[in-house]
């Protein structure tokens, strides 16, 4: 029975007994077991990544009122494998005049920055890669490495369009990290810790009910970090060819593309961990660890579906509108939200849970409504200015 509750420990003990039976010192056996566990997790992630390519193509086709791949295998399930085979046997070119070392390292760093994110994702009450007590900041650190890989890709391609795409993408990613950081502070305040496992443990009431505006701002900032529409400046396919991806082909492009999909799925997972309870669902996670893993994967898929829904519904935003939206609306709003939540948290400290939840929820709603009213009145003024100018012109 304890295998169902805690499979990782049971497997680790069993392997440890085998290895020490062979005469390995304990430290080396520990590291080898860790290595095997990490390898298993990352291999499963790459398999999931391949599945995500299929999911993405089927979902986009349904949004666009068509069927999508359905020839290769039942429901087109073998399609991503065919894509991988094609990418692998393509020629590995490097554009002339490109900086060879930097050009080749960039896709590797991009994929690595996504895979190391899974070190801090809590999959079940006792299954987590590494239980860092600074898990929330670790997410941002891995994002920083991803940002660096984009600049490297754009610069080393020796191509104007790639460079412009990379610069714009990095400017957007870097700007939207501020609302993301300040909304990451909100679950930290509620849980009293930055570790993702601790945040999940403290979510008896999901944090989305305590701070819905925070969840919304985190989602918007996360979509901008991922570089997906409506914020996909880098791959403005009608504007900049393929942005920083222009000169990449074959498996290197595959790494960028698959990395982006896995990144989107990972952020769906983080959104659900930070605000929707992670692996917790009505006490199911106490029954078995595998149920907890199923719960968190299900929630991550829902988060990923919402991210895809936003991508295939909204138009791309212009870069100056994007940056103006971030620095003039989202940043002041997220800091104001942080102050309001800190204040309400201190004022409602000793009250029973229902009063606390209601107080937080209402303060969020009021703040969101005020922000929307300010934005609406500003846009009304802008529109009147435009109308006024048009009236002058047409007479």
């Amino acid at each position: 029975m304890s295998f169902w509750k805690d499979p990782l420990k049971v497997a680790a003990d069993w392997l440890m007994s085998i290895f020490t039976g062979w005469g390995m010192p304990v430290v080396a056996a520990n590291i080898l077991i860790g290595f095997l566990g990490i390898f298993l997790l990352i291999a499963l992630l790459m398999l999931l990544d391949i599945f995500l390519v299929w999911v993405e193509r089927k979902v986009v086709s349904r949004f666009q009122d068509r069927i999508g791949p359905n020839r290769v295998g039942p429901f087109g399930l073998i399609q991503p494998f065919a894509d991988i085979i094609k990418l692998i046997i393509k020629e590995d070119t490097t554009p002339g005049g490109a900086d060879k070392v930097v050009y080749n390292i960039a896709p590797m760093l991009s994929m690595m920055s996504v895979l190391i994110l899974w070190a801090v994702v809590p999959l079940a009450p006792r299954i987590i890669g590494v239980d860092l007590n600074i898990g929330a900041l670790y997410i941002i650190a891995a994002g920083a490495i991803g940002t660096l890989s984009i600049i490297m890709a754009g610069w080393s391609s020796n191509n104007k369009f790639a460079l412009i795409g990379a610069f714009r993408q990095v400017a957007v990613m870097v700007s939207f990290e501020i609302p993301m950081l300040s909304t990451l502070l909100i679950p930290t305040i509620f849980a009293g810790s930055m570790g993702l496992n601790a945040i999940t443990e403290k979510q008896d009431i999901w944090f989305v009910f305590l701070a819905p505006l925070g969840a919304l701002i985190f989602l918007i900032a996360a979509i901008a970090e991922l570089g997906r529409a409506p914020f996909d400046m880098a791959e403005g396919e009608s504007e900049l060819v393929a942005g920083y991806n222009t000169e990449y082909s074959g498996m290197k492009f595959g790494m960028f593309y698959a990395g982006e999909l896995l990144h989107a799925f990972t952020f769906g997972g983080f959104w659900s961990i930070l605000f929707f309870g992670g692996y917790r669902f009505l006490g199911l996670e106490q029954v078995s660890a595998f149920l907890a893993i199923a719960v968190i994967l299900f929630k991550a898929f829902i988060g990923y579906w919402i991210i895809m829904w936003v991508k295939y519904t909204l138009l791309r935003i212009r870069i100056d509108h994007m940056l103006g939206f971030n620095w003039k609306f989202l940043t002041p709003l997220s800091f104001t939200l942080l102050m309001v939540i800190a204040l309400m948290n201190a004022l409602l400290a000793g009250t029973p849970t229902l009063v606390y939840t209601l107080g937080m929820f209402l303060s969020n709603v009021v703040l969101g409504w005020i922000a929307l009213e300010i934005a609406r009145s500003y846009s009304r003024k802008e529109r009147e200015k435009m109308e006024g100018m048009k009236k002058v012109v047409t007479t």
Binding site: V102, G143, T147, W155, L163
Partner: protein, 169 residues
């Protein structure tokens, strides 16, 4: 030699090697990228010293913001991607002499210090560095005044940036 010392030596060699490459490589953007790996080595050193918060902050602030600022500055001010300048000027022997003298001086200074062969003391097990840091930042007997002054310092940096960068507006 304990395992910790071996790991520290490897990390220190990596950091110093990257630092050396920063100043000797000919291509400026390559120098910026070697700087990134030097900063990453420093972050790993912080992690080895049981300061996880500082390690992650080093990556987030230095690599995620300052290194990107460096790379932007290099790309904005260089005409050609392959711009390479001469590495030494005619006074290189003065620099070499000064650095050798400094090295000899430091070597004699550190010879009598026994800290080189000591291992770090263990941190008590209940010690949570982030909570202590949080406590220290807001308690009136600790660091609350520097905490508030830090925000004023950051605003001063912003104002300075506006003044320097927006002169011609």
């Amino acid at each position: 030699m304990t395992g910790e010392q071996i790991v520290f030596l490897l990390v220190a060699l990596f950091t110093l090697g990257s630092g050396f490459m920063v100043v000797t490589t000919r291509n400026l953007v390559h120098a910026a990228l070697w700087l990134v790996s030097t900063l990453f080595g420093v972050a790993v050193t912080y992690a080895l010293l049981n300061a996880p918060f500082l390690a992650v902050v080093q990556v987030v602030v230095y690599i995620g913001a300052i290194a990107i600022l460096f790379i932007f500055a290099v790309m904005l001010t260089r005409k050609d991607m392959r711009d390479q300048g001469p590495q030494m000027n005619s006074n290189w022997w003065v620099g070499a002499l000064l650095s050798v003298l400094t090295f000899i001086g430091l070597f004699f200074l550190l010879q009598g210090w026994n800290g080189l062969s000591k291992t770090a003391a263990d941190i008590p097990s209940g010690f949570d560095s982030i909570s202590e840091l949080g406590n220290a930042l807001v308690s009136p007997t600790a660091y609350v005044l520097p905490f508030e002054v830090a925000s004023v310092l950051l605003v001063a940096a912003l104002v300075g940036a506006v003044y320097v960068a927006f002169n011609r507006k």
